[in-house]
Amino acid sequence: MANQISVREPQIHGNKNHADVTQDVCNIMDRKPTWLWWLGFGLALSALALGLVSVSYQIATGIGTWGLNKTVGWAFDITNFVFWVGIGHAGTLISAILFLFRQKWRTSINRSAEAMTIFAVICAGLFPIIHMGRPWLAYWMFPYPNFRGPLWINFRSPLAWDVFAIGTYLIISATFWYFGMIPDLATVRDRAKSKLKKFFFGVLSLGWNGSFRVWHRYETVYALLAGLAAPLVVSVHTVVSFDFATSAIPGWHTTTFPPYFVAGAVFSGFAMVLTLMIIARKTLQLEDYITLNHIENMTKVIILTGGIVTLSYATEFFMAWYSGNGYEQFVFLNRALGPFAWAYWIMVGCNLITPQFFWFRSIRRNVVLVFILSIFVNIGMWFERFVIIVTSLHRDFLPSSWSMYTPTWVEIGTLIGSFGLFFTLFLLFIRTMPMISMGEVKSVLHYRGNGDNQNG
């Protein structure tokens, strides 16, 4: 029985060796972009331009250019904020948590996922600034030393916690992403033909020389940063959920929000990673690196987190009924049967039903279907935040204040603009940075699991 070796499917297909990996990944940066990239970039840039115009108009003229009113003080702005922050969590989970759990399959997607996180957090971070009535005073949200008392911020406010949470998230994610990239940047530097590129990547790679010492330090720092970033997956979105959970409004005032939001974040984040990776692997011919196994693994995470989200919905309904609190019960009845019921059922349809398809292996391994379903998941998750925010606000305690909400073109333009920013940054990233972690992929090329077959 000694010859019975259980052979695990290789992580990377196509019998790649180290040189292949370097070649495949760096080629993407070297060669001229295809018309597909230009098409995507053009669309993203136009969306970004629309966003810039919308945001400039809104900041110059006032929050009145949005569809908010005296009853619904937040709608698209905070929905977009939570949506983008949520998306970012998948990247950190893949980068940090899966690293700590020694999931080797993360290696082909973690670089892009982490990049996605940073871009998503940038998109997210814009919204708290632009949603302010006086965004030129946004710096007042930071506790800087001053002579006005000194006057500090309100440390009890969830919005102040958001500042710290998003701030630390951005800094740590960027740090982790950058430090993780240093060996790859050195590779690009070494391969660079033009002087400018050599100089640029030379600066970025901080004098990496590939020696044992720098590798050793790199691994240590990587592990430390992973350890630092891992709790952020849970903490950041918990803090974001506190924006609602700590309030007094029925529909917001609930302790299920932290785990519910974190699960939802991972849920939507993985869906976005899938969307991006499926496009990337097809257009950049990376099917060998981002295999069906990677896709299948991610869909499994979606089943899990989608399940938690479903459980949260059920818990909310149960608690509303069980509490006997009329206001609480009304909010949920209003969500399902009131004027925004259409949004609610989109949310439920997309979030509850979509993940159920992934129970079937054939669907999990069908790239087209996974792509379509991942889009639905993100639609559902966007609507989830919209439903939470708008339906809880528009009909709260005193019926004399009940009102409806309709977005304006400026708000829609801003939403489209955020997608534009995200995709512009991501498309630029693909072309200018090594989008697959070459160093880490090389370390799992020969991984076979139980046996150790040295054959290439």
């Binding site: 108009y57 937040w74 305690f397 004399s400």
Partner: protein, 991 residues
């Protein structure tokens, strides 16, 4: 405004005279420097005060140089207000006011609490009339044939013309609103003597002629009785909205409240019979909906039953019984302007022995004297060409008359048409001379609104332009050169001995009159005959068609205030509609005609067609259409631009269009101006119209589909009946959850702990508190589109909830403002500490720290916070003079809300400290509290057990909204008590 610091001044001129400082005496700066003891500090002080002092001291000489005073006039301090007593005639009733002057200009009107008629109350129209003073579209120079002119030319032309008319034997007609000013009547008398063929015709914006004519038939004199709602224990009002818009609503509200004291053994009972839903109907203990025709036959039956004859109407039977039970202390009134009905009313009151007790005809009101028949003859005279000169003052006949356009073209037959209006309107467009009159705040006036009480109006600011009062113009044309004040003063000096029976000297009388704003004078009792019964036959045939009901809204009157943005944006108390008028239908009638809210329809009577949007009004009688008068006024085209400009903005009115539609053409003018009962048909246009409502969900009952079983009705308004509350002082209240607090020792209020209470039983929903707050706190006007988007800025709102259904509907009002919660949910969520709690219990909003994240507004369970979505334009420099300098004007991106008039609290505290006296209960009056004619709002120190607020808080009726949230609001409400039996009425809330 605290009592001890009110500084009443006699007049600008008196003060100037006292300090011996006239314009020509002002020293130059050089002189000032040379004077010994004049330091640089005092120079800077006085130069800073120069403009203010100048405005105060000078009212005749135009400004040439602003020169600082050498000696500051006494008691003129920048930053300190000076108060003057006056009377405002923004509404026809005329409210006695105290005018707050800052830096030489009036910035707030408050009711004069000493005046026996209005007793400190102030209606929404008078509150808002302040901004009309600062209207940049006011006509400030006389106009001749459409061109700007000057008084010399105009006077010459007019006098020439008048003489021509007199010599030709044609008539000179002075057409005014009701004039009860003795001095003006005297001037007109003199004018008549001079120009011989002069006649003076009164026309009221809303006619009460039938009441006056009926009294003439019954008692020999045209009388509008003085109604004594304080003495009436049982009131039956047939279509008279006496708490909202009929005759003198402020006085009536005050008087009505006197007989509704819930701690006494009994309170009055009010039965309102009407077609539309009015404020009085909302307040009534019982409301019976009837069409105008039904009301007339009801009255006929009521009359018959009281006389002991037969009557079939079941309501009439029941009410007749109760009225007979209240002989001598009941009151029957009717707003139906039909002499037949008013004769019936008089007979009923006579038979019940009410005359002289609950209504006074010996010392009657003098508020309205218009005669419908004289209008008929006026129109006939003008059409026949017998009129050579027509002078129109204080009225807009082309707009208010049903055949206004015809009147306008008839005016072409009159050689000389003079208007004394200071705003362009439908009538001035047809006048060849405009001799612009003064605003109340710029003029001297006397008024005898009710027999025996003389009210005074004095100017509190120098006129902006060259305007002249009617009195002055007429005097000038008679060849008398007297200034405004002298004309009034000299008249009273002349009649002093005959009209004022007191031991005072004239000077003393005059000074006290101007200081107090009123004085008692003697009155000639009207010579009345005994009651002469008149035969009346009412056509009681039921009509089977839609009957039109026209009414005055409490904000607009009959169009007088159409150009007042505050009043246009003030939500109608019942409909909550702004910037429009509508055609209201009952839900059943709307269903029958397949009408939905916002459908644009045409109301048709003969050849007259009026387009109005549909509104569904719960409680309105089936088969009636109700529409408000006063809209569609020329001049409202100016509101095309109002409101912030942005990409998706919809204009308040399209270019060239007016706000709302005029329904004056539908007034039936036969023997009387009839405002109700005209049969009409309707036609759909297929179009819809946006209605800017501040409240769109109108009941406390949850929507059917989403109603949780545990709470089908939200318990914010507690109501009960008088019988129940007599037995149990806490009747009607829910028993809140006992709440334990974790921080009992943390938040103690050692000094003052300010609190408020709103007595729902007293509140009539009139909304004058809302305007008062707007004036005091510089709340911006946002325009129709913003209101439609639910972005109105009012800090105080009047929530209105219906209960019941169909025609049997109860209306409940709840004034909702920031509750200043001790555990405010808005405070912990602001990231920059822009909202914090004061040591005296106020929830403060610090405008300059706010960055506008809006979390506070989201977290407020009462939704009382308002966000500045845009920079609301303050480009109109003249209009900016109305702003209160004590309150920040907020920029965009900043949150605002009711501050409990912290500026007034601080002012009073500082003054008390300065004078070293303790602050007494009642020293501080918030703007809303001060405006309320029903004294429904109370404010005070909860730490003072003797204060009114503490007593109200300890009352069994006291409760708080959303108490179970443990936000600990310091604003409480008192249960609404209706005087009805438990099984009467509908929809009583939570037992």
């Amino acid at each position: 405004m605290s009592e001890f610091k009110k500084k009443y001044y006699i007049s600008h001129e008196e003060k100037a005279c006292e300090t011996n400082c006239t314009c020509s005496d002002l020293p130059s700066v050089e002189d000032a420097k040379l004077t010994a003891g004049f330091t640089r500090r005092s120079f800077l002080k006085t130069s800073g005060f120069s403009f203010a002092a100048f405005m105060v001291a000078c009212s005749k000489t135009p400004v040439q140089k602003a020169i600082p005073f050498l000696i500051q006039p006494e008691e003129v301090l920048p930053g300190k207000a000076i108060w003057y007593a006056s009377t405002s005639f923004a509404c026809d009733a005329g409210c006695a006011v105290h005018v707050k002057n800052r830096d030489g200009r009036p910035i707030k009107l408050e009711g004069n609490p000493n005046h026996p008629m209005t007793q400190g109350g102030l209606c929404a129209q008078c509150q808002a009339s302040l901004i009309e003073l600062y209207d940049s579209k006011r006509i400030l120079v006389p106009q001749l044939n459409g061109n700007k002119s000057d008084w010399k030319t105009v006077d010459k032309t007019v006098v020439k013309h008048l003489r021509k008319v007199r010599d030709a034997g044609k008539e000179i007609i002075i057409l005014t609103g009701t004039v009860n000013s003795p001095s003006l009547l005297h001037t007109i008398k003199k004018f008549k003597k001079k120009f011989k063929t002069v006649s003076h015709v009164h026309i009221d914006d809303y006619s009460y002629s039938a009441i006056l004519d009926a009294h003439e038939k019954n008692y020999g004199q045209r009388i509008l009785p003085k109604y004594r709602f304080d003495k009436a224990d049982f009131i039956v009002s047939i279509d008279a909205d006496f708490l909202g818009s009929w005759v003198s609503p402020i006085q009536f509200t005050k008087d009505f409240q006197k007989n509704r004291k819930l701690d006494s053994k009994q309170i009055s009972k009010l039965i309102q019979v009407e077609s539309r839903m009015s404020i009085t109907g909302a307040k009534a203990d019982e409301r019976i909906a009837m069409t105008p025709t039904e009301m007339k036959s009801f009255m006929s039956d009521l009359d018959a039953i009281i006389q002991g004859e037969m009557g079939t109407n079941p309501h009439a039977k029941k009410l007749a019984k109760m009225l007979k039970h209240h002989r001598g202390n009941s009151l029957v009134i009717s707003g139906i302007n039909d002499i037949k009905i008013q004769l019936i009313v008089n007979r009923i009151n006579q038979n019940l022995g009410n005359v002289g007790r609950t209504l006074d005809i010996k010392k009657p009101s003098r508020l309205f004297a218009g005669s419908d028949s004289s209008i008929h003859s006026l129109i006939a005279k003008i059409e026949s060409g017998m009129v050579g000169a027509l002078m129109i003052s204080g009225t807009n006949p082309v707009y208010i008359l049903p055949k206004g356009e015809q009147f306008a073209s008839s005016m072409g037959k009159v050689d000389l048409c003079i208007s004394f209006s200071d705003m362009q309107n439908e009538t001035t467009a047809n006048c060849n001379v405009i001799a612009p009159g003064l605003h109340d705040l710029e003029s001297w006036n006397d008024a005898e609104q009710t027999t025996g009480i003389l009210s005074m109006t004095q100017p509190v600011i120098r006129p902006f332009g060259e305007n002249r009062s009617l009195r002055q113009s007429l005097s000038t044309w008679m060849g008398l050169k007297k200034d405004e004040r002298d004309l009034v003063r000299n008249y009273w000096k002349k009649v002093f001995t005959s009209r004022v029976k007191s031991g005072k000297t004239f000077t003393r009388f005059w000074n006290e009159l101007v200081h107090d704003g009123f004085s008692t004078i003697s009155s000639k009792r009207k010579l009345l005959t005994r009651f002469k019964d008149q035969q009346v036959k009412i056509d009681t045939r039921q009509k089977n068609e839609l009957e039109l009901v026209l009414f005055q809204s409490s904000q607009m009157g009959h169009g007088r205030h159409a150009e007042n943005p505050w009043l246009q944006e003030l939500p109608d108390p019942i409909t909550k509609l702004t910037w429009d008028n509508v055609a209201s239908f009952s839900p059943k009638t709307a269903g029958a005609y397949h009408l939905e809210k916002g459908d644009l329809i045409e109301i048709i009577s003969g050849k007259i067609k009026i387009k109005l949007p549909v509104f569904i009004q719960p409680g309105q009688k089936n088969n009636t259409v109700a529409a408000a008068l006063g809209y569609g006024r020329k001049g409202t085209e100016r509101f095309h631009e109002i409101g912030p400009n942005w990409l998706e903005k919809k204009d308040t009115v399209k270019k060239g269009e007016t706000v709302g539609s005029s329904v004056s053409s539908m007034i039936l003018f036969d023997e009387n101006f009839q405002y109700g009962g005209l049969p009409v048909t309707i036609e759909k246009t297929g179009k819809t119209w946006d209605l800017a409502l501040t409240q769109t969900y109108n009941t406390l009952t949850n929507p059917e589909k989403t109603s949780p079983a545990s709470m089908p009705v939200r318990p914010f308004i507690q109501e009960t009946t008088f019988n129940k509350i007599q037995k149990n002082p806490t009747a009607g209240s829910h028993h809140g959850h006992p709440i334990t607090t974790l921080w009992e020792d943390d938040h103690t209020y050692e000094g003052h702990h300010w609190g408020m209470a709103v007595d729902l039983s007293s509140c009539t929903g009139c909304s004058s508190c809302i305007v008062g707050c707007q004036v005091e706190n510089n709340v911006p006007v946002v325009g129709k589109d913003e209101v439609l988007r639910k972005r109105d800025m009012a800090w105080l709102r009047m929530d209105r909830y219906y209960s019941g259904d169909g025609e049997n509907v109860d209306v409940s009002f709840q004034a909702m403002m920031c509750q200043h919660c001790d555990n405010a949910p808005c405070e912990p969520v602001c990231p920059v500490l822009a909202t914090v709690h004061s040591s005296e219990g106020l929830n403060q909003q610090i405008y300059n720290r706010c960055v506008g994240t809006r979390f506070c507004a989201n977290n407020c369970p009462y939704k009382v916070r308002r966000f500045n979505w845009f920079d609301y334009a303050h480009d109109d420099v003249m209009e900016n003079m109305v702003l209160n300098p004590d309150v920040t004007v907020r920029s965009r991106g900043v949150m605002e809300k009711c501050s409990m008039c912290v500026q007034r609290i601080q002012e009073a505290k500082f003054e008390a400290k300065r004078l070293r006296v303790p602050l007494k209960d009642g020293d501080i009056k918030l703007a809303c509290e001060q405006s309320c004619p029903a004294d429904a709002i109370a404010f005070g120190d909860l730490n003072d057990p003797e204060s009114r607020i503490s007593k109200m808080t300890q009352s069994g009726r006291h409760y708080k909204v959303l108490e179970e949230l443990n936000v600990e609001p310091t604003v409480g409400y008192l249960t609404n008590v209706r005087n009805r039996d438990a099984d009467e009425g509908k929809g009583e809330h939570h037992g």
